[in-house]
Amino acid sequence: MSDENYLHALCAGDTQRIRSIYQQYAGQIQRWVEDNNGSAADAQDLFQDGLIAIYDRYCGSDFQLSSSFGALLFGICKRKWFDRLKEKNRETVVRKVEEERYNDDHDPSIDSEAAFQELQKQETLVKTFALLSAQCQQMLTLLGRGVAAEQIALQLSIANANAVYQSKHRCMSRWKELFSSSSKS
């Protein structure tokens, strides 16, 4: 399966073809993680985070895949693992850096880094969104689904569409505050 197909499968949530991504790369990543003081469970988490990072950066956005899917995925997993090791304050040196495995003339580490940063941002958005009031969460989710403001007013017993937007602005302001203070810490 081609790299575009992997990406497409991921964006569409195509279970069968996502399985073939695992089939293709899980072994390699598990071996690398186990060689670097991790377990199979760590590898599974990393792999999942790697795929979500690719989803965050490439699905529904204008960014094009410029390195190979495997190199990108491997790059993100490594980046995330270095981060985890640092967090855990372990004195471990990650032994092998096996980028040579992929002979790719485009340096995947730039794309991996960008996707990793995107993942971090999305996770912060998830975390801070969860801190908003239930009413805010419900309303913003409906807006995100593309439900018309008039319909939302009806559903959430808000006076009218205009009031929905007023309340959206309050929710977004609060969310921005939470996001800023969370990414500073």
């Binding site: 695992y22 089939q23 199979a40 958005l125 559903q155």
Partner: protein, 243 residues
């Protein structure tokens, strides 16, 4: 107007021409404002993608364990023969049980329609209405799958509030569940042609109506038309593989 509101209206293209120009000029000068704009864009994007993202995470958590297994440690020492024979008997018993379960699952597996036709629960109670229609009774009948009882209640409600797409959708489901396929399809077709948040539902239920009636060719035809933006795209793909 604070920044959040200004940015939101800018993104929704809701600012009058002059204010829009002034805002764009300010963006070039004010890096903080540009940063806020970028963040709000990210938030909007997050809101559009969050449900799919959560679904994808769940999907991956289900797939993951198939491919990542802890290395199995070699067995310590030899096993006593008697114990081994008992283990073997257990294994055979277990295998037989699993085989039986598989057969049972095959024989008693729910129809495709039952698997895919999971209706969203009805929550109408907060609507404003006159005393003519008993919303609570409507909700109760539908959620208890008493579609024959719910049907006339939806019809009465829609006489009072024609054009309520959500109620129409549920009316269609009641028609479908009571086997009135042609009438159900008329409702779903109409909903699928609206530009509303219910259009995806209209199309999906149109496909389900053919599935329930056993017209697989027509069902496939509708499913193939489900666009990628539809809420039901993934389900449609899954169903296509099995029809």
């Amino acid at each position: 107007m604070n920044n959040t509101e200004k940015i939101d209206r800018f993104l929704r293209n809701d600012l009058p021409e002059e204010e829009k120009k002034a805002f764009e000029a300010e963006l070039n000068q004010n890096a903080d404002l540009a940063g806020e704009l970028a963040l709000q864009k990210d938030m909007e994007q997050f809101l559009r993608k969050q449900e799919k993202r959560t679904a994808l995470k769940n999907q991956l958590s289900n797939i993951g364990p198939e491919f990542f297994q802890a290395a199995t440690k070699p067995e310590p020492g030899r096993i006593v023969p008697l114990q081994r024979r008992q283990t073997l008997r257990w294994v055979i018993g277990l295998a037989a049980a699993i085989a039986l379960l598989l057969v049972a699952r095959f024989v008693f597996s729910p129809s495709l329609y039952d698997q895919f036709g999971q209706h969203p629960p009805l929550a109408m109670i907060e609507r404003s209405t006159t005393a003519q229609v008993n919303l609570a009774a409507m909700e109760k009948a539908f959620n208890q799958k008493d579609y024959a009882a719910a049907l006339p209640l939806f019809q009465a409600y829609l006489r009072e509030k024609p054009g309520d797409l959500e109620a129409e959708l549920y009316l269609g489901i009641c028609l479908l569940e009571t086997g009135q396929y042609a009438n159900a399809r008329a409702v779903f077709t109409k909903i699928s042609q609206t530009q509303s948040s219910f259009m995806d539902y209209g199309q999906w239920y149109l496909a389900l109506s053919y599935l329930k009636e056993g017209d697989k060719a027509a069902c496939r035809r509708v499913l193939l038309e489900v666009p990628q933006e539809s809420e039901f795209f993934q389900k449609a793909q899954d169903l296509l593989k099995r029809v």
